[in-house]
Each structure stands twice: as structure tokens, then as C-alpha cells.
Symmetry: D4
């Protein structure tokens, strides 16, 4: 298991992470973790490994590109003193190019993505006792030559490279979804190929827990 | 794994099962499974065992005692032709005695509970290709001499007996929650010691999946 | 121009046609035509050819498959005594197979689609002074080997065949959208590859008006 | 066609233009263009001439007179760096005189209208790569001796003069509506002789597209 | 004064009369008379002639033509045993022709208007101890050659004739509004030339009270 | 008639005057005058004396005592440059003493009432071209020895004195209501003996118009 | 103490009793007793005499006169098998005469009141193991010559007579309120002299408990 | 009786006290005292001892721990110049430890509780003419070895000590509730063992009134 007792884990990202979480921080009573994969991760830790006392904080923000995330990184992530930071970002960098082609100021290039992600990692690693966990952004379209999928895959590749470069745990969400898309059509999992329903959240949760060494057979029940 | 490909599993119960499911049947798009443990079970089956094509239908109804459930059993359960029926019922049989002591017509005795459960099982088993799964009703209070807990335990014992008598798979939700309550105070999991939040739902989901032979390590990811 | 003065044109279909129209009939004041392509068609007829006095009635119904449409055909279409009937149906026949795979009773086969469409045409043609107009159902995915696209194309082919067999005007909406998808990614036009925004509605409107002989240069302005 | 590839066109005006557009700028996803004629113009450009990549921005503001528009011109129009600016303004300058006769500070004279329009044109022309398009304000009352119509016609005449003086494209919306009012009573198009429904929006859209050289027969479909 | 102590006066009509009155009958507490001219009439009778104990009942119904009014006359008017019945109806007979030209089944001819009004009067007069009061329907457009005004004037003429034929008191609302329209533009009084605001209601109230012999100088204050 | 053409009349007061008027000033379209007696006064002037062009502005504020009114007098009344100012204030000065006996800081003495009213009059008279109109505050209880009525009567007497001292027109609303209360029980007119319904508003309107020389028989109709 | 262990007490009446209780019966969880004096009575019994197990059921109905109450007596009261029935009714019998003078069919005479109350008592007494408790209707106006107070006092006298005749416990609510009105003005207790706030409810509760022998000094705390 | 005529009593606390009171101060019309025990206390004083003119002000604030209360003490309590201050605080100090175990910055130790309470008392006593009343925080769980009950009891003990040390009146709410819990299960009184319903509020009210010398037999009725 990656985490030590009493660790604080911040998960940062876009609307997939946000999932209507509470503000300013997504933790605590009354559904504050949002209704997405973050809540599921927090739920299984508390249900099966309560003695770990893992504190999970949701810092997703709907609509964020990597540029938007970088702008709030100090306040939302570093100032909250996490032990671990997980991050899944990038779909909005690409999506705006494909759903809002005229508004070019909203399109974020893969170069800016790489530079920004690198900078966030370098700024963060020295400040966390645990480390960082990288998650690939994903698009629920199995056709590799779909233009938006292909474009997003460039960001996924950046994430995979950075995980290798900095030796960080990698949750390859896209790869895991690709296995599921061999069996289910995307419409079972999502309305718009981005926002997952409970099936998609279950998969992201499982994919994350696989990476961090969560053992389903050693938990409380 | 208990289930065969293409099986239909109906889960019947009270508000813990209901969790704001759609009507008339809790299945399909737009959160129809409700936002509780049933949705999580359905989610993990579709996410990790999509080729099983398991059809999960939520037939919980808020406020139901075993008497109420029996009254709608034919229409809600048998007429929908399930292969498997899971049932968790009984907390309202007891709760009304402890929160509405003057309204005695709403209190259901353990004798009535046993007779009704036995009748439902005997009526149902001949009509299902798979079988039935019994789940103990639970109360999130670890003190065994708490009057409501003690009273509910009588129903839990009936469920355990019936599982033995009819050789049915048993999900002992109370026993699993009791392990968790050694680590977490009930208020982390529930507001009223009955309705579970995401942590409690995670535990019920895990407890159910343990019983039906769900293998976390053999799934798709 | 296909229509004669004072003709009544009923347009029947699913949610793409419905677009929140009024009930029981989608015509008249206060946005009764809905906010989709039907309103645009009605608007351009009244704005540019007011002397034609064409009466357009929206009879779309959200969620309808061809089976659902057939069930309300007598009451919604024939009993309203149209001169012309346009129909675009079929995406829900296929969509449920791809977004609700467990609920097989909601999947409509291409055979049922062909038989039902044929029956509706044969019942209707003798009763209308003008005729029928067939519109292909469409899916806003340009990849022909996408499973849902391929499956829907089978229905599009049925519509094309029937138009030929009965010598009916054909609005090939799919074909026209395919041209647009060479230039714009589907997300510009629609959230879910089915429901069109104002860009998609403009295209369906134009596609329909092309077929019925609407002349943009001979209108009032 | 007046526009070059990738041009940005701002349409400024009052509530007829606004039509519940998004703030601060009326462009992008989720119906941001409003539900009026601007959305239709943007829709037909993207549907039929997608390769033009024309960016349409709605800057109408409900209730604005020319005085109000001038007060926000720098921020709303010039600072957004348009290539083209279309403007239809003036009905509120007159309307307040006829519906709020006691509140004289809200009435804008034709002299102020002419001076303000002239100033806006002179300020704007040097700053736009494309140019400006003038649209006449209109009143959906065909009787030329109706006092409000007569008064508004004075503003229409100013717009026609300015178009001639500065050699700008003119969309004579009033003139086009007058043709329609020979066939339809105003109540078919509008509740209050000012705000158009879908029929009226169709006509304004067509009138605008006629002026800018939109060719209905050379588009994608 | 036309009314005797304790008389019950029913005022029947369309939305101008209705004005959001209570159902089934528009009388009593909590604004049951609606917020239009009927409330003002009732208010001045109770405020200035309380000893008269005049009971005013609003039986207007939004959207009603004379055909709709006739269909509910027995239940809404005769069965409530009035001493006096006032009626103002007819604008919807005409309005639908001008705002919904395609829906011809909603247009009521002047012949049907005359026959229906005659029948209602003949049925009612023998059953009321007081009598009937006729009010002309009106259109707030001073131009006599406006098509809708001219068409409505035909109904006004029918009302004037019937008042003469049956020697009934006549409230010539149109004539009184025509005087006001010499001074104020219609937009001061109404949004759509039909529904009056407080200024228009004041005038209808005054016009009605003039006819029934209300003396402003002999009242309580 | 007290008023000259084009005069602006501000009516200041408490909730009886306010009646849900618009902010900041109660005048203009969309029911801005509120739904009380001010709207009725404005309505009869525009309906019967439209050529007078009287501008009526509602500056009532719910809950105000004379102390509260004085605090906003400069901004709400003087800065709006009225020709005439009518004022009815005082019931809240007294009411709080009778409904909130413990909160003594909200009770305003008759001495403070007299001083404040005097000051407002002296400040205002030099600044208005027309003058001021005083209205007595009232309580809809006919029993003179009712404590709240007796207490409020002290304020009514102050108003009567001030009208005499400064030779100002007086609307003795209390006196006029007293006549009505000889015939109707207060519950017909008001729920709480303060806020009037349409009957009470009719009486206040009539009482006001009597004072300002409104001639019901010389108006337009 | 009047009540025996496990007794069921039904309290019937009008809106003062109703106080937004649940339907069909006002008892049980979630504020079902309403937010008025009935809830307070039930609260003090359960808080101070829990061992009594008194079941209190609210059967008040807003707007009811004695005529309305009689019409639902069988279903609402007798069919629910009470041991004790308390009833406070009559203010609406009188109030409608004073707030709705024209609607005479809603006024209930004192003769009808006496006959109906007598009949209800005679029908009920043989069917209840405990008995009946009569409560005087009240009006929060201390002036005995106020017409509505005087008229209601006639009903209060009927209740006092009937209590004597049938030897029933009497809660003289009016008499107790009269004592309070010597100290507090009615506006402290009620907005309309009928519906009590928390102060008035406290007094009714106390008045009721005085009559039934509730001992504040012998309770649990 | 502890209070003198015209005293102002402030009751400070958490959500049990707050009960949706008005802001900034919980006193006056329209339910400003909230719907909990404070309103009941205020109600019985005004209903039975109106001549005392006791002013009760609710200064509870939902969610407050003793740390939060201390932060607003100057503004909410001292600046309002009370004669008496009652305070019940502490459950949130403990509850967060049991429902939000990960968020340790929200847990308040018993040492901090004692110090803060001591400081508030020492600051306040010199400034109040009457004095302070201490109320024990409570938990509606009768099992003394329940961890949260045991933890809260430490705060209750602090309150009891401080009452002794400073010779202050003590309302031992926990002790009184413990008596009730011998007869009723906690679910009759509360959903979450903290927030009381009307039964629990009745008990807190009675417990408070017992301490302050309220005599139920010497009041007005």
C-alpha cells in the first residue's frame, strides 16, 4: 500500500474529479467528496482500511484545463499541505478545440500541457512527504483515429512519459477504459464520452486502487 | 461466481435498497438504480465483468417492513421474472417500535417476520432459475444490549436460520458492519444508524460481492 | 414546391423532432412547435412563403422507437387529417441496444423496423391528399465501422429503399450530416451524437427544405 | 461573401439581438448565442459554410437605447477586437416615449440618435479589418401614420443615410418586415410589435444573410 | 343605481375579465376576484356603497371565445343564480384569426357570434331578477382600418344592436378606450393591445360604473 | 385640481404605500407602482386625465416608521426633485409598541413623530414647486379606546395640526375609514387592521382624489 | 389525571388545531402533529409522563366550521376509535359573516351550532371509553362589544352550557386568553386575532393541561 | 424567580439553540426565536408571566463548537448588553471527532473547552446585572460507555464544576434527558441523538424553567 497512516491525499482535476464536490474543499460530511470516483475511493478506504485514517480531499474543478489548474495549484493544492497529490487533467485542453473551434484562445497545445505538467510536478514533489500519482486523461472512444481521441492520446503519452521520468505511480485510466470498450459501447458508460456514470466511476476507482496497492482481500471484510 | 451470463437479479428491500431509485423498476439510464449500494453492485459488475451481462433491478421501497414487502412481492418481484432475488428487510419492522411507540399497529413481531420471510422464500424458490440471496437487516449500533439492536438481532437470527434451512447464500451485513464499528464510530457512516452514506454503501456492496463469489482480481482491470 | 396552399403537414418522430413541443399537438402560439428543426421549417415557410398558408404540426415524441410511434400513429397522425406526413424515426430502436444492453425488450430489430415502416406507409398513403416524406434517422459519428452507426445505417438503408419503392420524397439527413462531419467534429453540433443544437437543426431544416423544393431565392425577401 | 475565413463578427443591439444570450459574451456552448436571430445566423454559417470558421459574438443587451449602447461600446465591442460589427439599435429610444410618456429622461431624440450612431461608426471603422453592417431598427406595424412607427422610421432613415454616407452594407429589416406584413398580421410574428418569434427571427436572419452575400445554393448541402 | 340591495352580479368573459381569479368562482377572500377590472368594481361598491351589499362574482375564463363561453354558460352562470349578468366577450373569436391563421377551427365568425350572443341573452333574461349588462369587446388600436380592429368592430356592432333590441344597459368599452387613445399610445395601457394594465382596468371600471349609475359623489366618502 | 400639467408627485410612506413597488423608484412599466392605492391613483389620472401628464412616483418602504423615513428622505424624496410630495407615515411607530413590547428601541414617541414630521415639512416646502399633501396614518379598528387606536390617533392629530399650521391639503384617511367601519367589519378590508385589500385601497384612493380636487365627472369618460 | 395509560386522544377542530398537521392523521414522525398547540400537548405528555403512553392524534382541518366538522366526524373521528375526543370549533362559523358578508351561505347560525354540537356529543359519548373534552372557540379581542367577539361569545356560551349539561371537562380558552389580553395587546399573540403564534399556543396548551389534570410538579423532571 | 422585570436574557449555543432563528438577533415577530426550545421558553414567559416583560434573545449558531462561540462572543453576546446569559455548548467539539475523524483541526479538546468556558464566564460576569446560567451539553445515548457519550460527559462535568466554582445556576439537561431515556428510546426524541424534536424541546424548556424558578402554578392561568 502506497499510503501511510494519517496521510492526506489531494486529488486534483476537472469535472470528472469534481463531480459536484463541496467548496472550498471536497471532504467531510454531507457528500462533500462529490458523487464521482473520488467518493468511491474514499469510501473503500474508510470501509475496508479504517485504521489507515487516510484523508482524501477532492480538488477537482469543472471545466478546468491544465492552464486553469496551474492557476489555482498554489492555493488549492500546495497550501492545503498534502502528503500525496493525484492529478488527472487534460480533456478540456483538447475538448474545446473540438466543440468550440472558433474560440481558439481556449485551446491548449500539447506543448503547453507538457510544460505545465512538468512545472507542477517539479514544484510539488519537494513539498510532499508521500509523492504524486499521475492519471491519464481519457476519452471514451475506442477508435484511435478519431481526431479528438488521437489528440487527447498525445496528452496521455505526456503523462506516461512524465510518470517514467519522475518515477511516479501511473493510473492509466485510458488504457483500462479501452479494455472495457471492447465489451461495452461508450453510451453505456457516459453520455458525452467524457463524464462517466456509476459504471465508469467504478472503473476509475478500481484502476486507481490497483495502482496504489489496495488489496481487496486483506481489508476488513 | 454465483450468476450465469444474462441473469436478471432483483434486489428487494426498504429505503437502504431504494436509495431514490426510479419507478416502476430501478434499472437503466439516468441513475435509475438509485444512489446506494445497488448502484455500486451493478457498477462493478458492468465495469469488471461486462461479458456477464448481469441485469440488476432495484426493487427497494422506502419505509417498507416485511409486511409491506410481502404485499407487493407478486407484482414487484415475481411478475418481473427474475433469475435471482436478493432481499434485505426488517429494520422498519423494529424501528417503528422504537421511534413511534404509540402507533402499535405499525410494529411487526419477530413471529410475523419469520412466517412472512418463510412464505416469500417458499413461494419464490420454485419460480427462479438461479435462487435467492438473503441479507441480514442491520443496525449501526455496536452495543448488543441497546434495545433496538437486540430486537433487530432477532430478525438477523431469523435470516441466518432461513439461509441455513434453505441452503441459501447469506450476506451477513450486520456482522460485517460490526467489524467496521470496531474502528469507526457510527456517525462516520450514517446519520441515524440506519441509512448508510458512501462508506456504508461501499461496505454493503463489498459484503454482497464477497458472498456471490465476485473476484476482484479476475475482472477486466 | 411540393406543398399546395393550405396544406397541413404533420412531422412525426422522436425527441429530435419533439424538441419540447406543446401537447397534444405541436402547433400554434407560445413556442408550440418546440425549439428544434420543426420550428425552423415552420418559421421559414411563414416568413418567406406566407401566402402558402402551410400548417405545420409537430408530432414528435421523445424516446420513441418505431414501435412506439406505430402505437400512436392512428391517434396522433391519421386522426389529425394531414395532407402530408413526414417521418424521421429509428435512432431509439438502435440506441437502447448500445446504451441499455441488459434491457433487451427495448431493442427493435431492423426486420421489425422495416415491417413497421412499411405498414405505416401503406396505411397512410391512401388517406393523405399530398403524400409522405421520408427522412433517414442519423447518428453524428462519421466512422462507418462504429457499431451503433453501422447498426443505424441499416435503418437508413431501409428508409432509402422504401422511398424508392413507394416513390416518396427522401430527406437523407444522415448523408447531409456526413458532409458536415467532414468539416466539424460532432461535439460542435451535439452533446451525445443524437440531439442536435442550433447548428444541427439548421442543417436538418435546410436538408428538409431542399427536398420539398423550397426556393430561397423566390421567397418574399 | 462579405466575410473572410476566421473573421470575428460582433452583433450589437437591444433585446431583439440579446434574446437571453450568455454573459459576458454571447458565443460558445450551451445556447450562448441566445435564442434569437443571432443564433440562426451563426447556425447557418456553421452548418453550410463550416470551412469559413466565422466567429459570431452576440453583444445585444435588453432594454438598450443607442445611449446605453454607446456607454458600453468600448468594453463590449471594441475591446473584443472584432473584424466586423453589425448593429441594430433604436427601438427603445422611441418605445419609452410611447409606453412611458411621463419618464422623459428615458426618451432619446432623433438628433441624439444620429450623432451617437455617427460617432460609433467613426470610432469603429478605423479599428476593424472588415467593416460595419448597419441594420434598421423596426416596428411591426404596417400603418405608416401610427405615431410610434412614424417616429421609429426617422431612426430607420438615419440608418439608411449613414449606410450611404459611409458606404456600409445595409440590412433593411423594416423594409423586409413590411413585405411580410402585407401577408401576415403582426400578431403572428410578435406579441408586442417588437420582439419577434421564430417567424420573425427567420426573416431577420434571411434579411441579414441576403445582405452579406450568403449563397443558399453553394453551401455544403 | 341599477342594482338593488343584496343583488348578485356575475361578470362573464375572457382573460380580460378573468385576471387570475380564483376557481371555481371568483369571489371572496385572498384576491379571489382576480387583479383586473372586476376587482376594482367590487372594491368601489364595497368601499363607497357598503350598505348595498352587492355580491360580485367573476366568471371570466382566459382564452374563451363566445363559443367557449356558451359551452360553460349553464354551469358557470345560470346555475349560480345571479340577479344580474354582465358579459364582455369576443376578442378571442377574432384574435385567433390574426395570430393563428393556420388553425382555422379556432376562428369564430360574426354570424356565430351574433347567434350565440342572442341565444345566451334569450336563455338568461327570463331567469334573472335584475337583467343583463352588455359590454363591447375592444381592441386597443385606434386605426379603424387595422384588419383586426375592423373585424372586432363587427362584434362590437352586434353587441350594440343586441343592447338596443333587448333594451339592455350597454358599456361601450371600445368607445371609451377610443377617447383615451386620442391622448395615450396603446403601449401605455397594454402590452398586446388586448390585456389592460392598471390604467386600462381603471378605464373599464369607470366605464362600467358610468353605465350602472354609480354616483361618485353620493358614496360614503 | 391641485396639480399642474407635467407635475411629478412623490408619495412616501410605509408598507401600505409600498405594496411591492419596484426599486429604486416605484414608477413605470411592469407594475412598478406596486399593487396598492398608489397604482390606483396613478391609474385614474392616466385613464381620465391623460392630458395632465401627471408623473406619480411611489416611495413607500415596508416597515418604515417616521424615523426610518426621515433617514432616507434626502435620497428618496428630495433628490428626485418632486413638484408635490404626499406622505402617510406613523403606523409602524405605534405598531411595534403593541406587537413587540420587549424591543423598546423600536418604539417611536409622539414627540419624536411631531418633531420629525415638522422637520421634514420645513425642509421640503421650500424645495417643491407644488407643495405637500399630508395623509393621516390609520388603524382599522373603530373602537376609540382600543389602546393602539388611541395611540395612533395621537399621530393622526399631529398630522391634522401640521396640515392646519402649514396650510397643507389633508387626506384624512382615518376619518374616511371610520365611516366605512360603521358598515363593514374590519376583516372585510384587511387581515391585520393595517394592510388594506382592494376595498381598502379603493377607499384610500378615493379619499386622496377627493382632497386633490379630482373630478370624476369631468374626466375623459 | 384524566387519561389512562395507552389512551388515544383525538383533538378535532379548525386551522388553530390543524397547524399544518400531516394527512390523513396528525400523529407520528416528521412533525405530523402540526406546529401548533396540539404538538405542545403531545410533547409535554411524552417528555414528562412517558410511561402514560398517551397517543395524541390531530384531526384539525383549516377553514372548518362546525358544519364542515360534522360532515367528516364519522370518518375522521369515530372511525379512528378514540378513547377521548377534544373539540374546539366555531370561529369560522362566525368569521365568514364578518370577513365575507356577501357569501351568506357560509355563515352558520348559533342555532345550527348548538344543534350540531349537541348531536356530535350524543353520537360520540356512547362510543368512547374515556369521554369528551370541550374547548371554547375564542377571538383575541378583549372588547366585549366588538361585533365578532360578541357573536363568537354566543358559541362560547353554547360550549359552556353543553359542558355543564353533559358534565364534560371544559377548557375555557377564551376566558384564559382574556386574562392574557389584560397584559398584552392582541398583536403580540396573533396577526389576525385568530391564529395564535408560539405565545398563544403556549397558553392554549397550558389551559388544556390545566383542565385534564396535568401536574407539572409530578412529571419526570 | 431568577429574573427581574424588563431583564434581557441572551441564550447562546449551537444548532440545538439556533433552530433556524432570525439573523442577526433571534427575537421579535415572524418566528424570530427559531422553532426550538428557546421559542418555548419565551412563549411560556410571555403567556404566563406577561407582566415580567422578559426579553429573550436567541444567539445560537448551527455548527458552533466552543471555539466558534468564543470567536463571536463579544459581538453576539456582550455588545447586545444582556442582563442574563445562558449558554449550552460543546456537542460539536466532540461530534466532529466522531463523525469526521480525518479532519482533526475541527476536534476541540476538553482542556480547550474548560479554558474557553472559564474565560467566557470571567469576561461576562462583571458585565451583566443579572448573571449567567450554565446548561450541560447532552447526547441522547443512555449507554455511558458509548465513546461519544463518554467524551461529551467530560464537557458536562466541566460545566458542572464551573457552575459550582462560580456559583451559577445549572440546567443539567443531560441528567434530565437521562431520566427520559429510561422510558423512551432516543429515536422518539431525535433523529441523530443531538437535534431534539418537539418532545426533546419540551424537556429542555422544562429543565431550564425548573432552574430559573418558573412557577407553573402561579402564572396567569
Amino acid at each position: 500500500m502506497l499510503f501511510s497512516p494519517h496521510d492526506k491525499l489531494i486529488i486534483a482535476g476537472d469535472s470528472v474529479t469534481d463531480a459536484s464536490r463541496a467548496r472550498p474543499a471536497g471532504e467531510g460530511l454531507f457528500g462533500a467528496h462529490g458523487n464521482g470516483y473520488v467518493q468511491m475511493i474514499a469510501g473503500f478506504f474508510d470501509a475496508l482500511y479504517p485504521q489507515l485514517d487516510l484523508r482524501v480531499v477532492n480538488r477537482g474543478n469543472s471545466g478546468d484545463s491544465v492552464r486553469d489548474l496551474a492557476a489555482r495549484w498554489q492555493q488549492d493544492v500546495l497550501d492545503d499541505h498534502p502528503d500525496w497529490v493525484a492529478v488527472m487533467i487534460g480533456v478540456n485542453d483538447v475538448w474545446r478545440k473540438y466543440d468550440s473551434p472558433h474560440q481558439k484562445e481556449q485551446h491548449v497545445s500539447v506543448e503547453e500541457y507538457r510544460e505545465t505538467m512538468t512545472r507542477l510536478i517539479e514544484e510539488t514533489l519537494p513539498k510532499v512527504s508521500g509523492g504524486m500519482i499521475l492519471m491519464t486523461p481519457y476519452y471514451l472512444e475506442p477508435n484511435p483515429s478519431d481526431p479528438m481521441r488521437a489528440d487527447l492520446d498525445l496528452r496521455g503519452d505526456v503523462v506516461r512519459e512524465l510518470a517514467k521520468t519522475y518515477a511516479l505511480p501511473l493510473v492509466d485510466v485510458q488504457k483500462d477504459f479501452d479494455k472495457l470498450l471492447e465489451h461495452l459501447y461508450s453510451a453505456v458508460i457516459t453520455w458525452d464520452r467524457v463524464h462517466p456514470n456509476y459504471i465508469g466511476c467504478s472503473l476509475i476507482c478500481k484502476s486507481f486502487l490497483n495502482t496504489v496497492g489496495f488489496d481487496w482481500n486483506q481489508g476488513l471484510v
